[in-house]
Amino acid sequence: MRSLGYLIKEGLRNVWVNRTMTIASIAVLMSCLLLTGAAGLFSLNVNRAMGTLEGNNSIRVYVRQDVSSLDALRIGDEIRKLDNVESCEFVSKDEGMDEMRELLGEENASLLDGLEGDDNWLPDSFRISMKDLSQYDETAREIQAIDGVDSIYDYSDLANQLTRIDNIVTRVGLVIVIALSVVSLFIIANTIRVAMLSRRLEISIMKSVGATNGFIRVPFIVEGIVLGLVAGLVSSLLLDFIYYRVIDALGIDMLFRVINIHHYLLPMVLAFMLVGALFGALGGAISIGRFLKREGGAVVGW
């Protein structure tokens, strides 16, 4: 235990002596963490978007602007009479406005100020779900034929598409992340091997005065952990930065409320650093394990 400080110092020295390889392995580990994080955030946001899109098989029927609320209720009765309609829920223009606020999120809700009450330009509408989606086209035609119905919005298409994209991104992301994990482990292990070879003499002296393998391992595992911590820290901060740049550039936050990762920044940074450190330690352990095994007791080398 006494020598722990010394061993950690030696590990840090490895990092410095080995700069080029260190930077290379940090970069690869960073891209691995970044991609994992990006795929994760994409998926979370898609799920959030779908939640906002009122479920998978509901349809929205808008009433013409000039139809009064009373007439609108009568239209609702007619819709309910159709065979394939399972439920039909009236959404008043005021409720519609509340929904819109919800959709835009706190930051953008002020856009709607002054558009309430009599100035509300939203039409009344119905939220409908069908018994049998295969008869969708026919039922939609029947609804459209009712007097006073303006338009039908079907969110199921969009939802299905989002689900499909999410699945593809998850799958492709997973493959890339696994490949990059293997690559980063390999590169970390090699980086630490270089450190080890440059310290052959020290290791042989350590062996000759009776250092245990555990003791010899520590500085190299420390080196791996330091690489991982740096990669984790930088990549999580970078992810945070890029995330908001992308959202701004695409204007996604106008469509629905994206997940605000600023709120989770600290846990995210810590999680990235933890994962990075685990990878680094593993890479170091693999490397030194192979070295000590291959060289066996012969490290002293008379």
Binding site: M1, R2, S3, Y6, L201, E202, S204, I205, M206, K207, S208, V209, G210, A211, T212, N213, F215, G297, A298, V300, G301, W302
Partner: protein
């Protein structure tokens, strides 16, 4: 201290290094091991430091049975040994003090112990005034004295020196062996491998001669001189 009975060693590549070697070293002895290169001297050292295992026979060092020893016990055996190398094996980026302190750190010595013990050892090898120097700034003889101080700093029972004078000015070689003798007089057992006959002749010590993997002579120094 060292007990070898009918020890043989053949390397996986087929080289027969030692045949049926038996010899004992008692506590407090000073032994020269001589022989031409390839005679099996290095193998002898490898067996004693547990870097290689014997194929057959019995071997014990400091009371530890090296045939049955477990891998994880090897480091603790080595802590009772001090090794001196032909090429000194000093770490070039550390100064003299650090090089000696390094050996103490590895066995978990405290800072206080190190500050007390290292200057004492450097005083013993007469290098106290060079403790801030780096190996490259020292002569071969001085470097080997640092090597000796490092081998001794953890207070081993047995010093194993492999051609310690091999890279040193012949005139200074005697100085190193003098130091080893002095250490021996203080109670540490010394086994020194060498092929410098004039050195061996000058110091009247026990001589074990190896030739082609066999011990061909085991004499005390006086007999050797008479012969």
């Amino acid at each position: 201290m060292i007990s070898m009975r009918h020890v043989s060693k053949t390397y996986p590549n087929g080289t027969h290094a030692l045949y049926d070697v038996s010899f004992q070293v008692q506590k407090g002895e000073f032994v020269f091991v001589v022989g031409s290169s390839g005679a099996g001297k290095s193998t002898l050292l490898k067996l004693i430091t547990c870097e290689e295992k014997p194929d057959g026979g019995e071997l014990s060092v400091n009371g530890e049975d090296l045939v049955a020893i477990k891998r994880r016990e090897v480091p603790y055996l080595r802590r009772t040994l001090g090794m001196v190398f032909q090429d000194f094996r000093l770490i070039p980026t550390m100064n003299v003090f650090e090089n000696v302190a390094f050996a103490m750190r590895i066995v978990g010595a405290s800072r206080r112990e190190i500050r007390k013990r290292v200057p004492y050892m450097l005083g013993l090898v007469d290098l106290l005034d060079k403790q801030k120097s780096y190996p490259a700034e020292l002569s071969g003889g001085e470097q080997q004295r640092v090597g000796l101080a490092r081998a001794l700093v953890n207070n081993p029972d047995l010093i194993l020196a492999d051609e310690p004078t091999g890279n040193i000015d012949p005139a200074l070689s005697f100085e190193i062996v003098d130091l080893l003798s002095e250490i021996n007089l203080r109670g540490t057992t010394v086994v020194m491998v060498t092929h410098e006959h004039n050195l061996v002749k000058h110091f009247h010590k026990r001589i074990v001669e190896i030739h082609e993997g066999r011990i061909v002579a085991d004499t005390n120094g006086l007999e050797a001189n008479e012969a």
